[in-house]
Each structure stands twice: as structure tokens, then as C-alpha cells.
């Protein structure tokens, strides 16, 4: 088991190094001149050259790469031209908002996806099953950015039930920062008015972000349930007179949950990636919006920082799923 974990860890390290190489190459193939960008539009040639020397942009590429890696090892992701702060400081500031959104979406995806998948499996090939499956395909096909706008139109503008964008109303006092996640912080501080306001802001973005995850949880749960429901022990439980609801919710569900857990792990990174779109629509001040505004301004360092952060999350989630599967299914430890 230890050898298996060590091997997976080594592979993850290798992948991380590969990703660092990609971000370095991408920032260096840029046709625009980073020194000129950093100096600003009014800078003289001398100022640009000074900045070029200061950032080491006049050094040979391999030297720049070593500096880049050495910087990364010390947590130095460079400085954002737009915010003028170090990227690591910006990421620490914006990441909690994204984390909050993704956690909320994940919860929504599981709470909606698991029961719908179960119902679909129990009612296999009947009208509700067809409807649920069609909805699942639709959720994948819906452009998140467009559907977000439609929801804003309906719930914020037309019905006026929910706010359009942001995390809190201007008038709402933010809770004392502990984790940076407003829902958590306000609950801990007992500021329930703030908590309610934060919930009403988070509902729409979390819902839109949860759709692809919801769809895959639904599909996997349905497929898994159908298989489990036709297994011998479920038949045995039924034959022994266990109530039908208990058979489905206890005997079958427990065994169908394992692949669902894997989906949760695998979707983690994808959802962080989708925040790029959802946060843009809802002006949610997380790393997705941060990356997009930087990308539009031609400010690379934040974009690369976000790429590395999301990549790291993605790799760790995959590693955890792999190891958990290795624990649960010893055959996987020796293969490949």
C-alpha cells in the first residue's frame, strides 16, 4: 500500500512539474512584451529596459526558468500588473470566495443528483426516468454563462426574489474574517442577517455551477442503482420482506454511493475551472473572475497563478480518489 501511495505521489509531483513547464512556456511565447506591459503605456524606452533588467527578463530562457521555479518554491507567483499586489496575496484573498461557491455547488449537486438518480433507476424506462435523463443531458448542454443570465432575468429582475450579483449587499456588514467564506464566518459570528443575505447571493451562482456535476452524479447514480437493484442480495432482502423503501435507501444506496464519491473527487477540479465563467456572470469576486479580468488586461502572472492553483487542486483531488480506490479495491494497487 505504501509503495502504491508513494508511486502516485511521485507521479503527481511529475505532473506538477510538467504544468509548471507549460505555464512557463505559455508566458514566454506571448507575442506581447511583458516588460513593456509592466511599465505601462506611457513608459519611456529606458523605463522598460530598467524593468526588463529588474525582473530578469533580459536573461537567457533557462536562467529565467530556474528563477521562475525557485520563486514558485518560495510561493512567489510574481506580481499582478492590474492590482499591483503579489499574485499569492491576491489568490489568498480571492480563493475563499471560490471555495465557498464550489463547496455549495458540490452540496447542491449531491443533494439533487443522488435522489434524482435513485428515482430514475427505480422508475427505469418510465416517463419520470425519460424526463430526468433528458434534463441531465440538457444540463450538460446549457451554456452556464447564458443560463446564469436567464436566471438573473427571472429571479432578480422579474420576480425580484434574489440579488443579481456579488456576495453581499453594500449595506450588509461583512462578518469578521476567519476563513474568508462569508457563509461560514457569519454563522460562527452569529450574524444571521448577514448569513441570510450571503445565502441569497450565493443561490443562483451555486446552482448554475452545480449543473454539470449534478448531471454526472445523476447518471452515475442511476446506472449504479440499476445494477445494484438487480443483484442477488437486493433480491434476497426483498424476499425476506424488507420494506421496498428500505431496500432502495439502505441496502442499494450504500453500494451505489462509491462511484458517486469518485465523481465528487473528479468534479472538484472541473468546477474550479468552470468558476471562470460563472463568476464572470455573477460578479463573484473569486479566482475565476480574477483570472478573467487579468486575461483581458493581458496581465499573465495572475492567469498563470490561477492555472497552477486549480491544477494543484485537480491533481490532489485525483490523488485522493486514486488512493481511496486503492484502499477499497486492493486489485488496483498492483495494476499499471
Amino acid at each position: 500500500m505504501l509503495a502504491f501511495v508513494l508511486k502516485r505521489l511521485a507521479l503527481t509531483g511529475l505532473m506538477l512539474f510538467g504544468l509548471v513547464c507549460i505555464t512557463f512556456v505559455v508566458s514566454n511565447v506571448a507575442p506581447s512584451d511583458p516588460a513593456a506591459l509592466a511599465a505601462g503605456p506611457d513608459a519611456t524606452r529606458d523605463m522598460v529596459e530598467t524593468i526588463r533588467r529588474e525582473y530578469g527578463l533580459d536573461r537567457p530562457l533557462h536562467e529565467q526558468f530556474l528563477r521562475y521555479v525557485a520563486g514558485l518554491l518560495q510561493g512567489d507567483l510574481g506580481r499582478s500588473i492590474v492590482t499591483t499586489r503579489p499574485v499569492s496575496v491576491d489568490l489568498a484573498r480571492y480563493f475563499p470566495a471560490t471555495l465557498e461557491l464550489v463547496l455549495l455547488s458540490m452540496t447542491l449537486g449531491v443533494l439533487l443528483g443522488v435522489p434524482l438518480g435513485m428515482a430514475s433507476a427505480v422508475l427505469k424506462n418510465r416517463a419520470p426516468d425519460h424526463l430526468t435523463r433528458f434534463v441531465a443531458v440538457s444540463l450538460v448542454a446549457l451554456p452556464a454563462f447564458w443560463f446564469g443570465i436567464l436566471l438573473q432575468l427571472l429571479f432578480s429582475v422579474h420576480l425580484e426574489w434574489l440579488p443579481t450579483s456579488g456576495r453581499l449587499d453594500v449595506a450588509t456588514p461583512p462578518p469578521p474574517p476567519i476563513t474568508g467564506m462569508i457563509l461560514f464566518d457569519s454563522a460562527v459570528a452569529g450574524q444571521w442577517a448577514t448569513f441570510r443575505d450571503a445565502v441569497s447571493h450565493a443561490v443562483l451562482p451555486a446552482l448554475v455551477l452545480s449543473f454539470p456535476c449534478l448531471a454526472s452524479i445523476l447518471r452515475v447514480n442511476r446506472a449504479e442503482m440499476i445494477e445494484v437493484l438487480s443483484s442477488d442480495y437486493v433480491t434476497a432482502a426483498r424476499a425476506h420482506g424488507v420494506p421496498p423503501l428500505r431496500v432502495v435507501c439502505v441496502h442499494a444506496l450504500r453500494n451505489a454511493m462509491l462511484p458517486t464519491l469518485a465523481i465528487i473527487g473528479l468534479r472538484w477540479g472541473w468546477m474550479l475551472g468552470s468558476t471562470v465563467l460563472v463568476e464572470t456572470v455573477f460578479d463573484w469576486p473569486g479566482i475565476g473572475l480574477y483570472a478573467v479580468s487579468a486575461a483581458i488586461a493581458g496581465d499573465f502572472k495572475p492567469v498563470m497563478g490561477v492555472t497552477l492553483l486549480i491544477g494543484l487542486n485537480f491533481m490532489i483531488a485525483n490523488l485522493v480518489v486514486d488512493i481511496l480506490y486503492g484502499v477499497l479495491d486492493p486489485r488496483l494497487r498492483t495494476s499499471s
Partner: protein, 300 residues
Amino acid sequence: MSTALSRPSFAERHAAALRQARFFAWSFARSPSSMLGLAIVLGFFLLAAFGPWIVPYPADATGAMNLANRLQPPSTAHWFGTDEMGNDLYTRVVLATRTSLWVGLTIVGVATLVGVPLGIAAGYFGGVVRSVIMRLTDVFLSVPGIVLALAIVAALGPGILNGIIALSIVWWPGYVRLVEAKALSLRNEPFVEAARAVGASHARILAVHILPNCASPIIVKASMDMGLAILAAASLGFIGLGAKPPAPEWGAMISVARTYMPNWWWYAVFPGLAIYLTVLGFNLFGDGLRDILDPKSNRG
């Protein structure tokens, strides 16, 4: 009679393959959702082909200005309303179909041309070749595609061509993964061993024995990916890093439309509906193909 000795007809020579094709067509047609997908996909291809001849105001896609008609709600003259330049949105949405399908075909085409040979090589040869190819693939798969594409477009600069380049760069690894597993399981099959035993070259084995047997999952994935690639390109357009107005593109149209919400709702609604229907069509179509070509696979 000379016919008894002449070459058998096409139908006779390919009786088995034709029977198989008829069976595939029959089982595909039995599924309403597959047929719906096929209809939507065909519909959009027809729109792309004949769009310029059926739209009422072809000049509106090239940056014409008609400010007297700006931001008109949907009416009989303008089915989808007009935009901030007074251009007919129905015209622009229909003409953008060609852009989107072309973008989807290019991305999926490049991804299969790069990914499939690499995947076959990795699975068939194994050893060092496989390790190198698969580790490289893992690196590209270690971050969600949309994020890496965003980073690449940020570096290359906005524009539809750069968007296509970025999405192609992030799309090929999926095919390597898919094909590698399949090729790995095929290389020890008796028919491959037999081909090797009679002295067939690696190139011949790969082209004649391995590739055709990998075709089903590739076709299924490619048809699903058409929709997803179109969605991803529209997403880049929405962010403001893809196609630039006045060239009609669905994502970019929604991006501009956002500034005209909520009063001018139709501006965002119709381009988004077009994206949704296209992606839905390709997904349903791909699902239907999977059911007939690759029934054993189960997807999450």
C-alpha cells in the same frame, strides 16, 4: 449466360457489412432521443450551408449600421429583434452557425489527428514510448481545459483563431487516453498476434488491425466533443477572448448583450438558445451512436 461468372455485385460482396449497417440504422432510429439529436445536428448543418441565402438581411453580419432600428424587440420584420447597431439578430444568429460548426470541426479534427496516432502508438508499443506519451498527456489533463485555454489565449492575444489554437492544444489528450486503453487491450488479441506471426509490419498492423477496432469509441467521442468544443469556443467568446464583433459569433454576442440586460432581453436569449440547441443536438446524437456502436461502455 456470362452473368454467372461475372464479379458479384457490390451488394453481394458487402452483404455482411450492409446487414450490419442496416441493423445500426434500425436501432438508431428506434430511439427518439437519438433521432432528435440527428435532426438538430442536420438542421444546424443545413443552416450553416444555406444561411446566407435564407436570412433576410445578409449585410447585417458584416458590420452594417442601421441606428434607426437599434434594439427593437422581436417582430415580424425582425424575428429575434435587433442589436445595438440596428442589425437583425435572426440574421446574425443564423450566420454565426457556420462559424461555430467550423470552429467545432477544426478543434475536434486537430484533436483526433494528434491524439489518435499518439494513443495508438502508446497502447501498441508500450514501454518507454507509452510512458513518455502518457506522462505528457497526464500533464495536459492535470488542469481543466477551459483554464489552460484561458491561459493560452491570454498569452496569444484574443481572437477566434487563437481560441481555436488554445482549445486544440487542450483537447487532444482526451483522445490519447481513450485510444491508448483500447489499443493496449487489442495488442494481445489473437488476430493481432496472427498478423505479427505472418510478418505484417507495425505500420500495417496499426492501420489495418488496431485503428479500425478503435473506431467506435473515437466516433462517439468526436460527435459528443463537437458540441463541447462549440460550447468552449462560445465561452471564450463570452469572456471576451474569442471572436470579436462585428463578426457574428454566439458567445461574443451574449457578451455584448450582457451590457444591455435586463431591458433588451432578446439580445442575449436567442444566441444562447442556438448554443444550447447545438450542444444538445450533438450530445443526443453522440449518446445515440454510443448505444449502437459501443453499448458496453458506461459513462459518468
